[in-house]
């Protein structure tokens, strides 16, 4: 414990929520896109809870990092309401097309800038299992990494952790500071109170991009990736269900159902609005029809 006060960086990631109404495509190729929700990765929340537990029992400063789009601010607000002190959201479009190595360089650089004593995150992702980025980032930053940790105790000069070993054995390991620990889901995240939720709305979120890192563009994203995308095998989508004519109906009725109910009938609406309101409602219609992307104005 170098400064009598632990500085802990927690990485929170989001994963797809496998609970209903999300459903698997009928051929089992993938999760159906419709009704899909994103949730904070449960193992990462367990890591955050561990960090907050240390904050409660010892003196600790907890910084939460998320990497991704604006919706992740909600994850940060959750962390604030649970008790985190600082929240950073990193987002840069140049990360697109990157592989684990390229993404790890970003995380390693953030670690080098923040200089935490400990980096906490979950051991696995709920939706896709092992995720090598935190371990690779630890290696790139030259720090030890303890994976599959089930318990953790900070000592004065080193950390001690129990981790899952082969054949169900438990192994106790030690490592010097600074150190990365990947947690199993050992703790249930605390339930925030209404006061802390309200307070969390006012905590500022720091937004970082590549300029904050001084990282060369050629090292990240598609340029920095070792893997080149040769082919993207999107799962063949199942048909969006439409009313197919009921074979039990007589042909005449089937024809009628096809000519009337098969697809949405053409319809028109008359709006009598001012020019500005007309433009706004038209843009809304275009967004609903998928003709333009949201956010364009």
């Amino acid at each position: 414990m170098p400064n009598n006060k632990l500085d802990i960086l927690v990485l929170l990631r989001e994963s797809s929520d496998p609970r209903p109404p999300a459903c698997v495509t009928t051929r089992g190729a993938a999760i159906s896109d419709r009704g899909l929700r994103h949730v904070p990765n449960p193992a990462d929340l367990a890591a955050l809870e561990e960090a907050l537990h240390l904050k409660d029992t010892l003196a600790a400063q907890v910084t939460v990092l998320v990497i991704g789009p604006e919706r992740l601010d909600d994850t940060l607000r959750l962390a604030f309401s649970m008790g985190a002190d600082r929240g950073i959201r990193f987002r840069d479009h140049d990360m697109e097309g990157g592989d684990a190595v390229a993404d790890a360089r970003v995380l390693a650089r953030i670690t080098k800038i923040l200089i935490p004593d400990l980096v906490f995150t979950g051991n696995h992702m709920l939706d896709r299992g092992d995720e090598p980025v935190p371990a690779l980032a630890a290696a790139a930053a030259g720090m030890p990494c303890i994976s599959a940790a089930v318990s953790f105790a900070p000592k004065k000069e080193w950390v001690e952790a129990e981790r899952k070993s082969d054949r169900g054995a438990r192994q106790t390991v030690t490592a010097p500071y600074p150190c990365t620990i990947l947690f199993e889901e050992i703790r249930s995240p605390r339930y925030p109170s209404i006061e802390t939720v309200t307070q969390s709305l006012n905590v500022p979120v720091e937004i970082w991009n590549l300029a904050n890192l001084s990282l060369p563009i050629r090292e990240i994203g598609a340029c920095g990736a070792y893997l080149a995308e040769a082919d993207y095998g999107a799962p063949r989508p199942d048909p969006v269900r439409v009313v197919t004519p009921d074979p039990k109906l007589p042909a005449f009725e089937r024809i009628l159902s096809l000519l009337s109910g098969g697809i949405k009938a053409r319809e028109g609406k008359l709006h009598t609005l001012s020019i500005d309101d007309t433009a706004a409602s038209l843009v809304q219609v275009f967004i609903e029809e998928g003709l333009i992307a949201e956010g364009i104005s």
Partner: protein, 653 residues
């Protein structure tokens, strides 16, 4: 890119198609001497140039007993190969793929052209051709399979990328599959296994002939839509079994049969994308690429179908007849340059069914791509000042074409908007899509250098003062005056007055129909929709007499009858009389010569023909250096001739 799904490549069998747009098979009547022709090369080539990823030829007949149409290509003769090579080479230079469709129409034809009996699974005559076919003996089935194989070899030698066998709305194979037409009790009839036996023979014969490294698919009828016929559930099962053989690479789809041809080629009254539920139903069951065709006339809708996983390939037929360059324009995001098909069916199906060459109301270049296709419009040798009077389809096309050739064009119309008679026609019930003709051309005029003057009455004096080099009169036509004795007076109106809301009609209306086309029927429906009691009287054999070729007859009559309209055919109307509120119609039956009187009616609507509006033309004759008249101003016809003449004069001046 606006359409990421539409412009993503698709692997079909051994070929990769660059986008998801397929120009679907359809008759062209362009073959010469039952061999592929140069006109076909340019016709299909134009669509390849326009960016369609895949082109499937019209049906090629595999056996002498199948000659349902006079101008089919006899693919079982090796003489077709040189012509095929020219076509496939021409298409391939634009990076498009081309498949050939092989077909035997079975009983859906007659022997009047081939002078041979038609062959079918059972002696069940087709509803259109009505000839009792010869029930095929087992050796006949073997022979057709051999001919399929022989034809397939010619196709492969001819440089095609794949083969589609027609199992769809008009095919011998479907007649074997369907309990409606297959009444056999031998190994080719009865159970589904037995009914599939002959079609499987055709598929495996072709697969054996072309080898495993060649793309082969079928076009299935997804639902026959007729009592006792195949429905979607049965076709799903059949498709799954065909897929399980591993012999085919894709599943193209069609719908219905000749019992309900109006579903095969849905007209303007049919909803856009009306076959999507069937394609989605098939695609649920099988993993092969599934095609969806049927009034998908714009890339936005196509993209939506693909994104929803309801099909893997979008079949466009009329959409690309109308605008061969739709794919290219969609790719470049030039949406308002696309000339959208309106499914009027007058130029394509309407002409094909009457054994004329393929055409399109909105695209005069169809079948004449060599002369009039993309890139053939030469700059005018002498640039002239051209004044066109009349902003209907004829005037707009003349203006657009002349402007592109470098002339200085002024387009004058007395109305407040461009469109001429189309503005009125699109007000008929279900005819609103007709107005797309105006939008398509107006988009082009807005981008051109044409000076458009609206709300201006062109007079002889003004034109003589302005002294343009060329005057083109496209003033159109008006409803015939004094159409029948006693027809001038209160409570008697014409179509234009009715559709433009200028007529005050009572509850009981008699519509005298000497037109037989949409002008009468869409107006009658327009009135019936207002709750009026409409009686239609015609001298034809039946109401909607002209709507057969465009596949509007069935549904138009159905809707009119459902709305309480009554039909009185065979009557020559000679006189109308009576006071307002009690008008009567007098006429005689053209067969029995018996006179009768109908009424009383509150109002009469006369659809008894048009007359030219040529006063301006006659007054200018001999007084301007170059004077032409086009469209209805020459003689009242339909919009196809107006556009044709507008385009032609634009090229010639």
């Amino acid at each position: 890119m606006m359409f990421p799904n539409l412009f993503s490549p698709l692997k079909i069998g051994t070929v990769e198609v660059k986008n998801r747009i397929s120009f679907q098979p359809h008759l062209t009547n362009l073959a010469v001497g039952n061999l592929p022709s140069e006109r076909q090369m340019y016709y299909w080539g134009e669509r390849a140039k326009g960016g369609a990823g895949l082109i499937i030829t019209e049906e090629l007949t595999v056996h002498p007993t199948d000659m349902s149409y006079e101008k089919l290509i006899d693919v079982y003769h090796a003489e077709v190969i040189p012509g095929f090579k020219k076509i496939t080479d021409y298409v391939h230079q634009y990076d498009s793929k081309i498949f050939a469709q092989l077909n035997h129409n079975g009983q859906q034809g007659d022997g009047s052209i081939s002078r041979l009996p038609v062959w079918a699974p059972s002696p069940v005559p087709d509803v259109l051709f009505r000839e009792v076919p010869k029930a095929m003996e087992p050796e006949d089935i073997e022979e057709v399979a051999r001919y399929f194989a022989r034809s397939a070899i010619h196709v492969r030698e001819g440089g095609f990328d794949g083969i589609e066998i027609q199992f769809g709305h008009s095919s011998l194979a479907r007649q074997f599959l369907s309990p409606l037409t297959n009444h056999r009790s031998d190994e080719y009839g009865g159970s589904l296994e037995n009914r599939m036996r002959a079609p499987l023979k055709f598929i495996s014969a072709v697969r054996k002939a072309v080898g495993n490294d060649f793309t082969l698919g079928i076009r299935m009828c997804a639902d026959e839509m007729i009592p006792g016929g195949l429905d979607l559930a049965q076709v799903q099962e059949i498709c799954a079994r065909f897929e399980a053989t591993g012999l085919i690479d894709f599943m193209d789809l069609s719908i219905a049969t000749f019992y309900n041809l109006y579903l095969v080629e849905g007209s303007m009254h049919t909803p856009l994308g009306y076959t999507i539920p069937l394609a989605a139903g098939i695609r649920e069951r099988i993993k092969l690429p599934v095609f969806c065709t049927g009034r998908i006339n714009d890339p936005v809708m196509a993209e939506k179908v693909l994104a929803s996983g309801q099909a893997d390939m979008i079949g466009m037929c009329r959409a690309l007849i109308c605008d061969p360059f739709l794919p290219k324009k969609a790719l470049e995001g030039r949406m308002d340059d696309i000339r959208y098909c309106i499914a009027c069916n007058q130029g394509c199906i309407g002409r094909i069914g009457m054994n004329k060459t393929l055409g399109c109301v909105q695209n005069p270049a169809v079948g004449r791509e060599k002369e009039w296709g993309e890139g053939t419009l030469a700059q005018a040798g002498v640039k002239k000042r051209v004044t066109i009077v009349g902003g209907g389809p004829a005037g707009m096309w003349a203006a657009k074409t002349a402007d592109r050739r470098g002339h200085a064009v002024t387009l004058i119309d007395r109305g407040e908007a461009l469109g001429g008679q189309v503005i009125t026609a699109m007000k008929g019930t279900g005819r609103d899509e007709f107005g797309v003709i105006i939008r398509n051309e107006k988009n082009q005029l807005d981008k051109s250098g044409v000076t458009v003057k609206l709300g201006l009455e062109a007079t002889m004096q003004q034109l003589l003062t302005d002294k343009p080099d060329v005057v083109i009169v496209a003033t159109g036509s008006v409803p015939k005056k004094h159409a029948v004795g006693g027809a001038d007076g209160p409570a008697i109106f014409n179509v234009v007055q009715v559709l433009n809301g200028e007529a005050e009609l009572g509850e009981r209306v008699c519509l005298i129909d000497y037109d037989g086309h949409q002008r009468a029927t869409a107006t009658a429906e327009f009135l019936a929709n207002q709750g009026k009691k409409v009686d239609m009287i015609t001298s034809s054999l039946f109401i909607c007499a002209e709507l057969g070729p465009t596949q509007d007859l069935y549904s138009s009559r159905q809707r009119l009858l459902q709305k309480g309209v009554t039909f009185t055919p065979d009557i020559a109307v000679m006189e109308v009389g009576g006071e307002a509120g009690a008008k009567t119609v007098k006429g005689f039956n053209v067969y029995s010569n018996v006179w009768n009187e109908w009424g009383p009616y509150d109002s009469l609507v006369l659809v008894m023909g048009q007359q030219v509006d040529d006063d301006l033309y006659m007054s200018l004759k001999g007084r301007v250096p170059e004077l032409y008249r086009i469209g209805d101003c020459v003689s009242p016809r339909k919009v196809d001739m107006a556009i044709w003449e507008g385009h032609k004069i634009g090229r010639e001046i």
